[in-house]
Each structure stands twice: as structure tokens, then as C-alpha cells.
Symmetry: C2
Subunit: 430 residues, 2 copies
């Protein structure tokens, strides 16, 4: 479309989505999200601008009992049949890489717009997928892959100035945020909090992908590509799981005025890209410190628009289904998101500078031992707890002023050599 | 566009905004925002997908000294000349109703897409403007009219399920939020806090539109139309200014664990539309309580996606200019926001039920007088301050559990009759 000669009527026909009578979709996968999509497409018929007709559903086992009435669903175990249904939009909610990767690329090559909620696929195969979408000139939308319930990726994709981002910090994993929130609120230990998350249905029977940070890292990589065009592999990101966080860390964080949360941080305002996914001490004055339970949030540092903050439900079949169906509506319109030009990522480092929250543990640590040694090494502290002595072990928590990580780690090594105490440190978000 | 027969190449030509070489704009108004737009269009040239060429600028006085170099700007005092420049997009940043209303409608009728940041124009003339846009089939975009720096209106406009909203609460006026934040943080009085806002450039020489709540009410009306299609006149909204908030109200709110902020609230989940703009006690556990200074925020209660929260800079020439230019980029693409069908608004009421924050003042009020009388009338309290006696006046602050407003007001009237004390109450947001 060239702008010099606007064609109002032509524009009107694209504005007026009532022109669209029906959107035929093929759904790959009928797990919790796939089932929620099939259900919501029917329930929300009056709200959607067009009837979303499920033309095919790819499943592994048609006999498998599911939470919904599948009688009317055209299930197939054959990917060819699913694509042969000539959908207007392909919905991929299989999760994982294969066969999702092959099938989405096949659909894009055939000129079929695709919608996915699969952050693993995007994180590991992004370049390949977006190249296929660009070559075919069809949209590949993935609003539900990060902050599943909160629309913001598409907006930024369409708005070049708002997308001029130089970094972000967020809470992108609901399971680990639920666990750490519970530990902070109820003084629960990690195992107890995780068990309650599993009872509440907020954690998988095998929660390792959430607890160890892989899910957050994949979302971080999706954001780096979307916001900066960086092609970063998940293995390049400094990742720490939350299993090392103890109930007493939360108690002392609270005493310092903050809370420990599972965060992602990225900053490319400098030549290098500094990124981290793991637990951090979040200052109580920040909006991020009020993002509780399974809520997710992201704060973007933009060049022209200051800090933009988006939060809401980060997961769950129902909200994911709503976001996927809104993507289907968008994919059925013209004027889609302009893909960011992919560009080589700068060198990737961890967080190098900033304040730190530290737990020291030893058999015999005196109140002033650590503070005086650190002070003598130029590490300034703004929070020091009393020694907490239990079961013959002495623990102490410290909050530093900003300092270089290498400087802090050298000081902690020296402290360990002198006093034999072990140190655990996480970054501070202010 | 009918979806049954997708045309990948055709879609590609609309996806690929590099096809757009230049977007010619006419800018109505060269105040702070207009000047920032002219400056940013040049500074951000590398970021924008097309060269934004200012073809005409409508001003009242070409000789007026402005903060920018206007030598290269084609200024005119004649609206006809501005529209005759055949812009691809009209930008209206005059503010107020006339001549903005007449000129925007003229442009729309001529098939020229329009972008405005003018919430007053939208609040008072919305039906007329959107009818003209729909009739001409051209977009009328207004992302900068609410939460100026934060893109969310266009997103919701494009996404029917995310836009299934039944109510919202927000902080939409930066000036009054700066004033109440300062009062809470530094214990400043209202006049002192307002003076510091004016020194910082966050308040107009005549701040009445912000302080008395008119600006917030206009934004509330823009949101009601955008999210629900309700055509509500600003005069229908229950409005309270913030000048009645005292430094000691903030001190006691803090003691109760919250803070007093200038909010807007709307809820149409019931047959009636309950709406309010004015000061409220905001619970410290909410994200809204962490929105400080000139930041703005909105929390939307959605039918399918839970609570969505957006926050960021709410005003300022630079961020407003960035949002307006992103709107210009969007207006130059196909597939614009689908206008919400206008519908008659339900009966508009104020907030009828909820918890309340109360200040009682009299010459002789005993510690237990109010609590015992209110308890006898079935008003349950969750916060009671000690009597604060200064200059011969006794003041006391109360925080109630949820109760009906009519019930509370009757109780306060009786209290006043019995003890002669005056009562000031604001709603509580939890």
C-alpha cells in the first residue's frame, strides 16, 4: 500500500471486519489450551467479529478422554489432513519443537497465517519461522507466548517508537512467582510452597522447567527477538533456579523492605547485552514487587516513551485461549505486525553492576565480621541483619549499594577464605 | 477483505511498511505537543518506517516565539491552506473543542485519516467524530488521549476478547497524582505540593482542570466509549476535586497501610453504570498504590483475560509526540481499529457499595463516640485512628468494611446530628 494515494473505500472494507463471515482454523493439539480454544470459540461467538469454525484438530490419540465434548470436533491424527482442511489460520498449541516446527513452516510456506502460544518453538527456531513467514508474506502471531493474557507484543510490533526499547525487567513465570509469593506471605518453605502450587494446579507434576528457569529464559529470548531483533539462544542466558531460595531469605528481604521474586532482566543500552533470569530482591517501592501469585508483568525501558509497565495473568488455558483467538482475528485482517529485522546479537553477559542481596552462612560468624571486612574492601551496605543462629549454623543477610559484580565476588571469596562462610547472592531491582 | 480466499502477496504488500516512502502530515497546533511532534519527526527518522513530512502547520500567530527552530516549518494561519496541503494524515493537537472539531470533521469527510491527542474533543464530540470517520471509512486514532505514553487503546480496539471489559479503575491525571504523592511522601500540605508541581512544570499556571477532576472525567468518558461504546457526557460523572485532601489525611491513610490517590472508577457489570472520578484511599497491596508522581495507570476487569494493568507516563510533550507519531504510522496502514458500535449508556450512578475512608472533625469528639455509634448502626470498621487534636479541633480517621453508601451517609448524618461533627468520606480501592 502506498500512502500517497489513499483509497478510503478500500480502507473501509478492511476496517469493517463484519465483512468477514467465517474464519476457518486448524488447531494443532487438543491439550488444556487446545480444548479451551475449541470451547471459547463457541462461547465467545457473539463477541468475535466472525464465526471461528474449527475445520480440523490434530491429536495424538482421538480416544483420550478430555475435559470437553469432542463429538463435534473433526479430530485427526494425520498432520496432512489437518493442513488439507484449507484453514484461513493455523493454530499451533502442541508445545515443544517437533512436530510443531515442521507443521508451522509447512503452513506458512503454503500461505496460511499461523498463531502460536509456543515460546519454546519461538525461542529455539525463531529465525527459521520468521524467515518463512516473511518469505510467504503471511503473519506469524504469538501474543500468548509471553504474558499469556496480556496483549502488548502486537502493539509494540506495530508501533516503532514505543518499540524503541533498550531493556526490560519482568516476572514471566507464574509458577515460580506463586511459590516465592507464598513463601513471602505465609513464611512457607520452598517444598511446602511448591506442593501448594501443585495442589492449586499452578505447577506441573514435573515443575522443573518453571522452577529451574527454562520457561523464563525462553520468554526472555522471544522478547529479545521481538523488541531488538536479537537472535539469542537460550543457552546464552545466565539462569538461576529458585530452588535455592529459603523461607528465611524472604523473611529478611521483607525486613529490608523488599521481596524475592523470579525475574528476567535484559539491558542492551550498552554495547553488550546484559541478561539474567532467576531470583532477585525486588524493592518494595516498585510496581514489580506488587505482582503476586500467578500474575506476570514486564517493565520496558523505552527511548521515547519512558518506562512502560504491563501486567496480568501470565498463564492458564482460558486466558491463553482468549489471546490466541484475538490473534486469529488479527491474523485474518490486513496490516499485520511488521517483523523486526533480525540482527546479530551483541556479546551476551550477565548482570555486571548493581546492588546485591546476600546470604552468608557459617558455623561461627560474628555480627560485625562480614560488614567490617566488606567495608574495608569498599563494598557499601545499606542493610545488615542480625546473626540468625539455628541448628549450629550462623546466617546473616546483607543488602549492598550498587557495586561491580566482579568486585563483590572477589570480596566474598576473601570473606569465605578468612571466615569459612558460604555466600549466596542475587541481584537487587530498584 | 473476505478471509475465505487469502491473497498472500496482497497481504505482504500491506505487511511490508517499507513500501511506504513518505507520510505527509498536516499538524493543527504548534504548542508544546505540536512542537515536540515536529522535532521528533526529524529526530526519529531512522526509527520510523517512513519519512514523516510536515506539509503544513496551522498556528494562530506565526511570529510567536517557540522553543524550536520553525524556519523550515510551513506555517499557516489559514485552516483551508492546512487541509489543502493534501496530507496523508491530519494531526490535531490544538486542544479544546473549536476549531478542532470543525477541522477534524472536514478532514475525515475528505477521506483524510486523523490522529488526535485531544480528550476534551473526544469526550464532548465523540459520537459526531466517529460517525464521520465511519462514514468516510478512514481511521480516527487517539492513543495519546489517555495514558499519553502507553499504547493500549489501539490494542484493545483490535482485539475483541481482550476488549470484553466490564469495568476499570485507574489514575489518569498526572498533575493531581504528583500532588497527592508529594503530600504522602513528604507530608506536604496541598498548597505547598501544588506549588512544587507548578515549579516542576507538572501543573499549569491555572491547574483547575486537573485539580478539580475535569481532565480525569474527560478521559473516563473516552474510555467508556472505547471499551463499551457508551456515549456518556462528562456532566453525568460524579466528580470530586483533590483540593479537599489534607496532609493529615495522607498521614492517617499511610498508618492504615494505604494512600490517597486521584482515581477514576467505572463498573458496568451490573445493569447500571457506576462511575466516579476523585480522591480515593488506595490499599497498599494494590499495584495502583505504587503508581507515583506523574505516572498514570489503568486496571481493566475483563471477561476472558482477568485483570489487565497498564501503566507509564501519562502526559508530557515528548511522550505524547511519540504516541501521536506511532498513531500516524498506524493510520497509514490498512486494517485499522474497528470502531465500537455506539450504544445508549445505562443509567449512570456514583459508587454505591464498597469500603470507605472517613475524616470526622468536631470541637469535642471522644475516642469511642463515632466507632460505637457507627457499630450500633451496623457499620463495621477495620481502621480507627486516635483523636488528633489541634487548634481546638478534634479529628479522627476511620476505615470501614464494605457497606452501602446510602447506609453510611445516613449513619454519618445521625452522627453529625448527635455530636455536631463534620464528615468527609472517599471510596476505598482494594
Amino acid at each position: 500500500m502506498t500512502i500517497a494515494a489513499p483509497a478510503p473505500r478500500a480502507q473501509h472494507s478492511t476496517i469493517d471486519s463484519t465483512a468477514v463471515r467465517e474464519i476457518r482454523v486448524a488447531v494443532l493439539g487438543l491439550g488444556q489450551v487446545g480444548s479451551a480454544i475449541a470451547t471459547l470459540a463457541a462461547r465467545a461467538a457473539g463477541t468475535l467479529p466472525a464465526n471461528v469454525h474449527v475445520a480440523a484438530v490434530l491429536v495424538r490419540d482421538p480416544q483420550k478422554p478430555r475435559g470437553i465434548d469432542t463429538a463435534a470436533l473433526p479430530m485427526t491424527t494425520d498432520p496432512r489432513t489437518a493442513l488439507a482442511s484449507k484453514p484461513d489460520v493455523l493454530i499451533e498449541v502442541l508445545g515443544g519443537i517437533e512436530p510443531a516446527r515442521t507443521l508451522v513452516i509447512e503452513a506458512l510456506n503454503a500461505g496460511i497465517p499461523a498463531v502460536t502460544a509456543n515460546k519454546t518453538l519461538l525461542a529455539y527456531c525463531g529465525s527459521e519461522l520468521f524467515a518463512a513467514a516473511a518469505a510467504a508474506g503471511v503473519p506469524l502471531l504469538y501474543e500468548a507466548s509471553v504474558l499469556a493474557g496480556v496483549p502488548f507484543l502486537g502493539t509494540l510490533g506495530r508501533r516503532p517508537l514505543a518499540r524503541s526499547v533498550t531493556g526490560f525487567r519482568g516476572i514471566l513465570n507464574g509458577t515460580s512467582n506463586f511459590v516465592l509469593t507464598r513463601m513471602a506471605r505465609d513464611g512457607a518453605g520452598f517444598d511446602e510452597a511448591l506442593a501448594s502450587a501443585q495442589r492449586a494446579g499452578f505447577a506441573e507434576p514435573d515443575p522443573s522447567k518453571d522452577i529451574e528457569g527454562d520457561d523464563a529464559v525462553e520468554k526472555l529470548c522471544v522478547l529479545l527477538r521481538h523488541l531488538a531483533g536479537f537472535d539469542v539462544h537460550p543457552s546464552q542466558i545466565d539462569k538461576t533456579g529458585i530452588a535455592g531460595v529459603k523461607g528465611r531469605d524472604q523473611q529478611h528481604a521483607t525486613a529490608f523492605g523488599g521481596t524475592v521474586r523470579p525475574v528476567v532482566v535484559a539491558d542492551w543500552s550498552e554495547p553488550a547485552l546484559a541478561a539474567y533470569a532467576g531470583p532477585a530482591y525486588v524493592e518494595g517501592t516498585t510496581a514489580l514487587s506488587r505482582v503476586d501469585g500467578v500474575q506476570n508483568a514486564i517493565a520496558l525501558t523505552t527511548r521515547w516513551s519512558g518506562e512502560l509497565f504491563f501486567s496480568g495473568p501470565g498463564a492458564g488455558p482460558a486466558v491463553t485461549a482468549a489471546t490466541v483467538l484475538d490473534d486469529v482475528v488479527e491474523a485474518s485482517r490486513k496490516g499485520q505486525t511488521v517483523p523486526v529485522e533480525s540482527q546479530p546479537a551483541p556479546p551476551v553477559t550477565s548482570l555486571n553492576d548493581g546492588a546485591w542481596f546476600i546470604r552468608l552462612t557459617s558455623t561461627s560468624l560474628g555480627e560485625a565480621d562480614a560488614p567490617s571486612l566488606l567495608a574495608s574492601l569498599g563494598i557499601r551496605l545499606r542493610g545488615v541483619s542480625h546473626i540468625d543462629a539455628r541448628c549450629g549454623r550462623h546466617s546473616q543477610w546483607l543488602l549492598t549499594h550498587p557495586c561491580a559484580r566482579v568486585h563483590l565476588d572477589a570480596a566474598l571469596d576473601l570473606l569465605s577464605a578468612k571466615t569459612g562462610c558460604g555466600a549466596w547472592r542475587i541481584p537487587v531491582l530498584e
